[in-house]
Symmetry: C2
Subunit: 559 residues, 2 copies
């Protein structure tokens, strides 16, 4: 930090690196557009008014300038991209900072999964901040690879320069009953940001949860729920992921009055949606379309989240366009439609930023299952409990049917962390009445065991074998052959490829799944939630069929 150079540049004694001239820029402090010449040196803004000289000048009359967008809560793993490729995908969309929770990789690898993100974050151009995963494993009705991450393990990495706080505290019952491990985690992070995860929690329970020091939540799906959280000092991150979509419901809460306590997040957003719709820019666009004034939307997307996480103070201040603040800037051709022209990160045009995947080390080769025999994938016959899947919902329905009824498919989950377990087998409907073949995935929240759905055990075996061979991914099989496969060798969750290549592979997978008669538009996304035993009502983990309401494993056979 060379203060004298900044001070000289601000007074015209030394030329700036860059001036963005005549631009309408957002003054987040008064929430108004102003016009000026934004002057930058060493990655930091040093002037707002005309009169300075620079090596490069961009004439931006008629354009708008907003502070870099911040994703307030994201699981990078859900993009299927490595942190480096995630950066490539979102920086150009205007997201210059993201607060991530490596919950998925932590379930696969334990603390090493968190450390992978901490280390990657140090080598990125974008600001990636890591919240330390608080709830690994999510439940004890599944087998993960990382085992249990304890409070003392988190304390050891809590002071890493890219560690920001405690990630989403999903164990709401544990907080409300003062579970010892939960209290130890909350106490050891006291005074630092602690993210919440409390869907539909209200009243005294919400007050208790807030009293424990939780200061944000991205899980509000109802207006009144979000308004109550806001009143209770819990910042509301409006989420629009690939599955969970809250933007339309929550947009009316975002006003001039509330704007400094609200922000945007993507949580889980897949690479196709990022490429086709956008990232935080997509949420800003949607909020404005829903009636939020542009100034308020851009303020929430930047300064508000930066302040919440302490990023608006400190040596590198982010979230505003003012002297002394980092030059994280989004130049817009149009503010109302959030039409991003180009993006500056620390004063560098993102078109000049490139990154290559860091060494993967131990995060490759995480699939340690042996290929099952087809007969091991055979579920019980007769009347069985069947999981019901509906397009776009992660909550499942339940019914009892004959195992071979029309529309009922086989579903198997195979533990993949080297315990030589046999698959757990059950039944599901909703993938399509005429499905002929199988699809399999190594992405299965939150333990990420192997999961396969299919019409027959042979194709399921082929699809699973394809994943075991390549270190994880997505596969579609029919007639004993693999039709399409996307490799996700990083933890069985992330591809090595950049976003544009991944897009093609995903489209090919989609076609293959349609060709075998799968009727769900997003079969892999839906498959990923079929083993998550914290979402109602019936799920299948490697330990068996989980009745989520009873929080117990039940027999697949309906007696």
């Amino acid at each position: 930090m060379n203060l004298p150079r900044r001070i000289d540049a601000a007074q015209g004694r030394t030329p700036c690196d860059l001036i963005i001239q005549g631009v309408r820029f957002l003054d987040v402090f008064s929430c108004e557009w102003k016009t000026g010449d934004i002057s930058i040196i060493d990655g930091v803004i040093v002037g707002l008014e005309p009169g300075l000289k620079a090596k490069q000048t961009v004439y931006a009359k008629g354009q708008w300038l907003a502070p870099g967008f911040i994703d307030a809560h994201v699981h990078v793993e859900s993009s299927l991209l490595t942190p480096e490729n995630f950066q490539d995908a979102v920086l150009k969309r205007g997201t210059t900072t993201a607060i991530c929770d490596p919950h998925e990789l932590a379930n696969v690898l334990g603390v090493a999964g968190i450390e992978y993100f901490l280390k990657s974050a140090q080598n990125l151009s974008m600001d990636l901040w890591v919240m330390l995963s608080s709830c690994v494993p999510a439940t004890h009705m599944e087998t993960n690879g990382g085992g249990t991450i304890t409070a003392s393990q988190l304390a050891k990495i809590a002071h890493h320069p890219r560690a920001l706080g405690l990630a989403e505290m999903m164990n709401v019952p544990g907080v409300l009953s003062s579970d010892a491990d939960v209290i130890a985690k909350l106490t050891s992070f006291a005074g630092r940001p602690m993210d919440g995860h409390c869907p539909l929690v209200r009243g005294q329970q919400l007050s208790a949860y807030a009293s424990a020091g939780i200061t944000s939540c991205h899980e509000s799906s109802q207006f009144d729920e979000a308004a109550e959280k806001l009143m209770k000092g819990i910042s509301v991150w409006i989420r629009e992921g690939s599955v969970a979509k809250d933007l339309d419901t929550l947009s009316p809460l975002l006003t001039l009055a509330t704007s400094t306590s609200l922000g945007f997040c993507t949580d889980d957003r897949n690479p196709l949606d990022i490429a086709n719709e956008g990232h935080i820019d997509h949420l800003i666009r949607g909020a404005i379309r829903n009636g939020v004034s542009p100034e308020v939307a851009y303020r929430a997307a930047s300064w508000s989240v930066a302040r919440h996480y302490g990023l608006a103070s400190g040596p590198a201040r982010r979230g505003a366009i003012a002297p002394g603040w980092a030059a994280d800037l989004v130049l817009l051709s149009d503010a109302k439609t959030c039409d991003v022209d180009r993006v500056l990160k620390n004063g560098v045009w993102t078109t000049e930023i490139s990154s290559t995947n860091a060494q993967a080390g131990e995060i490759k080769n995480t699939i340690r299952a042996t290929v099952p025999e087809a007969r091991d994938l055979e579920g019980p016959h007769g009347p069985v409990h069947v999981i019901g899947v509906q397009h776009g919902k992660i909550i499942t329905t339940r019914s009892v049917q004959a195992h071979d009824s029309s529309g009922v498919a086989r579903l198997s989950v195979l533990e993949r962390y080297g315990h030589a377990s046999k698959p757990a087998n059950g039944y599901v409907m909703g993938f399509g009445a005429n499905m002929d073949g199988a699809i399999a995935s190594s992405v299965g929240h939150d333990s990420h065991n192997l999961i396969a759905v299919g019409s027959n055990t042979t194709d399921m075996r082929v699809a699973l074998a394809a994943l075991i061979e390549c270190g994880g991914g997505f596969a579609v099989a029919r007639g004993g052959k693999v039709l399409s496969r996307l490799e996700l060798p990083f933890g069985g969750l992330m591809s090595e490829k950049p976003s544009r290549d991944l897009k093609k592979d995903l489209q090919s997978l989609k076609q293959a799944s349609q060709s075998i008669g799968c009727e769900l538009p997003e079969p892999f996304l839906q498959l990923a939630f079929l083993s998550l035993p914290v979402i109602p009502s019936l799920k299948l983990t490697d330990k068996g069929l989980v009745d989520v309401e009873r929080f117990a494993i039940i027999d697949v056979r309906a007696s």
Copy 2:
């Protein structure tokens, strides 16, 4: 921090300590009044809704509840009260937190003066945070007791638990020219709050000052000046002290949009004004009278300043009424007139809080001057430069007159730190054409040498001797006798007495000064600024007559 007790109390499993029932409370997050039952345990709020039980219940229907007020910038020494007595004076007015700069005592005692406040702050009930004085001495045209406080001295106390950041950076030319010591201070506090002091600084110079990392200023006296600071990321503290009064000019800047970047401060406020008009409550009242909406005024007075200084996060969050936040609360009979009924600090009624002065140690007996002879107080004769004083202004005028012209009084400054110096003698007008006698003070910004004004050297000698005898204070003399004296033995700046006793003494002093023909309503306040060589245009320090425009010492004789 007993989280399980909070969690239990929030859910009604254990009784709360206190419930304030049926009160309209300020939700700072949405900037709206809500109605609820504010429930408290262990000094922390755990509920907002009805349904909990408590040991004590206060029925507050028809009353309002605001978060405790925060004074964003104050020199406690200007209240003439010790930190303990300052607490007694302001807590009951609703000020539960104050950000102080011990600049005066630091000039008297050096780092020991700052350490006195750090230590006192640890023993108070109110939150007193100490910004470390950045500019001691203010100039090199005066002799102080503390010598020069360097960047490395500040670094040694920077991590004290009550040290918050770097206090007002008055050396604007030093910042703009990258003075090495200034840069060292700014660099070593990078990332922590750094208060500014930049009256009338605008344009590129203001951008340079902001680029250096300064994040607040309490010295705006013009609307446009304050608006520019706000746009440049410098939080604006609206000041209403005993001398400098900016509230009427700056109130229009305080709106819903800007409210989270604005706050209130008193800077220098004397004990009579605190007792008669109020403290931050007085500013809130005035802002509302000036048209600021009450919600916005109370938000600025609490949450906004807490956020700026990082007090709204951390283990003890302050500035909002929400579960998990400290119970610093002001119960108001009327919100519009800021009519304070009672005040809670950390869940305790302030009527139950008492404090006694901590050990003074070395901060007593700081006057080490010997009593001068009357002849040593004799200034030059003939045509002389005369300082002109006007009621309520700290800027002085200048003229050349015969030394014995009507209305011209003698003015002497005596170095008091044991260097056995002779007094510097000059002339002043404005205290009254018919003054007969002398007044003297050990409060003289910023070096706090002894200063005396009078019609004759005998009475000046008597007044100065009275101060030397008692360790400092204010004195009025006539006919060779002391008419009234207020002792300020703590550093020659602060009384040992509580506010109510001090009030009587100050009234007696006022009467005495009127009885000797002094026409200024606040002679001691004005005297205190006559030796401050950073405020135009002509001042007298222990080193001689200072021409502030030329920043040089000049001869008293006009040639």
